[in-house]
Symmetry: C2
Subunit: 452 residues, 2 copies
Amino acid sequence: MTAPSLASILQQRRQHLAQLVDFPVLLWSGCALSRNFPANRFPFRASSHFLYFAGLSLKNSVIRLEGGKLELFYDEAPPESALWHGEMPARSDLARTIGADAAYPLADLAFHCKDAATIPVSQVQTQQFQILQRAIALEGIDAQLAQAIATLRLRHDAGALEQLRQAAAIAVEAHKIGMGMVSHAHTEAEVRGAIEGAIFARNMSCSYNSIVTVRGEVLHNERYDNLLQPGDLLLVDAGAETQMGWASDITRTFPIAGKFSATQREIYNLVLAAHDACVDRVSPGVEYSEIHHLAALVLAQGLVDLGILRGQADDLVERDAHALFFPHGIGHLLGLDVHDMEDLGDVAGYAPGRKRRDRFGWCYLRLDRPLQPGMLVTIEPGFYQVPGILQNPHWREKYQDCINWQQLERFGDVRGIRIEDDVLVTESGREVVSADLPNNADEIEQLVSANS
Amino acid sequence: MTAPSLASILQQRRQHLAQLVDFPVLLWSGCALSRNFPANRFPFRASSHFLYFAGLSLKNSVIRLEGGKLELFYDEAPPESALWHGEMPARSDLARTIGADAAYPLADLAFHCKDAATIPVSQVQTQQFQILQRAIALEGIDAQLAQAIATLRLRHDAGALEQLRQAAAIAVEAHKIGMGMVSHAHTEAEVRGAIEGAIFARNMSCSYNSIVTVRGEVLHNERYDNLLQPGDLLLVDAGAETQMGWASDITRTFPIAGKFSATQREIYNLVLAAHDACVDRVSPGVEYSEIHHLAALVLAQGLVDLGILRGQADDLVERDAHALFFPHGIGHLLGLDVHDMEDLGDVAGYAPGRKRRDRFGWCYLRLDRPLQPGMLVTIEPGFYQVPGILQNPHWREKYQDCINWQQLERFGDVRGIRIEDDVLVTESGREVVSADLPNNADEIEQLVSANS
Ligand SMILES: [Mn+2]
Ligand SMILES: [Mn+2]
């Protein structure tokens, strides 16, 4: 069996869309953004909704979908631009590659916009702000379109899965390179350079700004300023993105000197136990929020066993005490976006009628739906000692009865640990797409020590 | 003598500005731009004008300059954000670091905007478009401000030079790493990964999207899809940027197999001769357009000597025939931006009253001013066989008498060669800031062959 062509993958996607909406749809790819002046731009990244139905990363392009038909609106580069950018494919060649039924210059778009639904591209500053504030209100057919696209993109087809596996495979390679060189590195920046260099070397890009830090307790640390000290753990959260825009998202935490301390190993194994329990629970029909709850329970019980928390695990979780050390969600959807479809707010992440809970430990959960075959999710429990939480008088008072501060002090060399894998929901259960990257403490130590 | 502090460097800059303008000035840093959804952003890059006077890369910040005084408008992160981004410095600490006379929350900005001049940040799509079209018209005090800032930023102070030297040094290192690994690489992407990985490893970023290609004739090729073949030349145009935003911009072209062919070496040495002649001409008072003209003359004469062009070099240059093979300008300003201050159109690049010439071979010249001590410029002659030019019937007819097509065919293995260095204008002449990277053909061959 040969792999299906891009044109046939895309045809299937728009036929599925046609079963969900009965109005025309326009999707824009967007433009390259200026970095500091017009000619110096960030690498172009097309809108994910466009990529899903158009397959190719084309600048300044629009597709129109209706009744399973695809029309491409695309301006061929003027001849002068070949000097700077080389020969660009002709509109008709692009149309053939993606199986378009027709192709027009952009100027013709004006005649094809009527009554079409659309989704705003995520590029203009105010729109970003609106979405962050959850103030965006897609209405009418635009809202229906967003729901329809979320329905489609929730469950990955074969074409998507092939891309997602490639993205995971290259991220696994890059993480191994990072682990293999850390014993010779002196700075976070060196490890970041090795990992991202490896991703670029395979002609992929980074699906998000990598986190490579000895301060794993800063959850979205995007600086690489610190020196590596022998007793440190390094937290690496890095993913690759294929040229067609499909993402991976993997985290490992490992000892720079190749050997976990006793305390580091205890916490590491606890996080791994939560990770494994959660991965094992992934199955069609299971509520993702249950998996988050399971992670909280395993972590709470483990922290009780280590003498850090006091009480019954289920009581502690009921009181959100686990969130003192695990303040984020157990994971999220993964696809074209590393937080898939987050440009739509919670339209994709939350089942209709559901809303984020306001509670500490739950408000950052990005996915609350029953799992379905074809969904790809991350499982990423963690343990962090965040000063902003643990030194906060409000929390200290609220949870004074359930933390043994003296015992916690023993674990001072554990600032942040996270273990994150990409898990596909299958008909019969699950498949860990990033399984080739070891997460067992002994194997991690071996990978780090192999070249030292 | 100890290095001057950031605060004193910045103080000097704003005092100079105060000598040039008598109105208050507001400069915005800008915000991080969304890549595909609000939480997934491109690395933040502050406006260069802000960086010049504020020194630090602060998001969503504004400075007000008046009479040599500096006021900072900056919102401290809410306590919750420490969870994600770590502890951020307090406003008062930042103010002290940059030597601000006062610091306020952003909300206070409304009371300080009156009568202030400003420069638009280069981020909104329409603004970009306007600038590209040269339709932007800064008026009144905004136009005066742009002129004043251009005057200041044209000649680099000691603080700037220290940064620019660092940026050049790391780019030199990265280029050497690229040359050292190319004999083992199979793809352009692998070389790009090695070079950019090396830049990241030194905790710098890329000052622009690197060009790493065997198709050097595509001037702004930003793809890395090609396989490396033994007979190919690889053109690498890559620069580093310091954390404070200062750029380098260096190009080398080298044989993948470690040995130029006879024809490649002839053209390489011709481009190098043009490069060396132009570098030697850099001196205070010299018109940069004269240096461009010199490059054209040396290249034309060399192509006559090689039998590719026919006629007298000065006649050929008068007829723009050199531009058939050297269609771009000899270089540009370099500073915080790789094309420094290009966000202002030609305000900085062209002396008052001067305009770009419409002529083939001159319209892409980005700098037309007499050189002054403290200016940093690139010198980057090249030779390219661009199908869009050489196959263009218009040019073929216009220049039919001066090209020996049969002789040109002998040079089919030379698609594109460029040699680019960063040259500082000094009181007594010049200093090549990127001189540590060899450009002599023999040394280039040695660097490439050393590890094979
Ligand atoms: Mn994740
Ligand atoms: Mn340049």
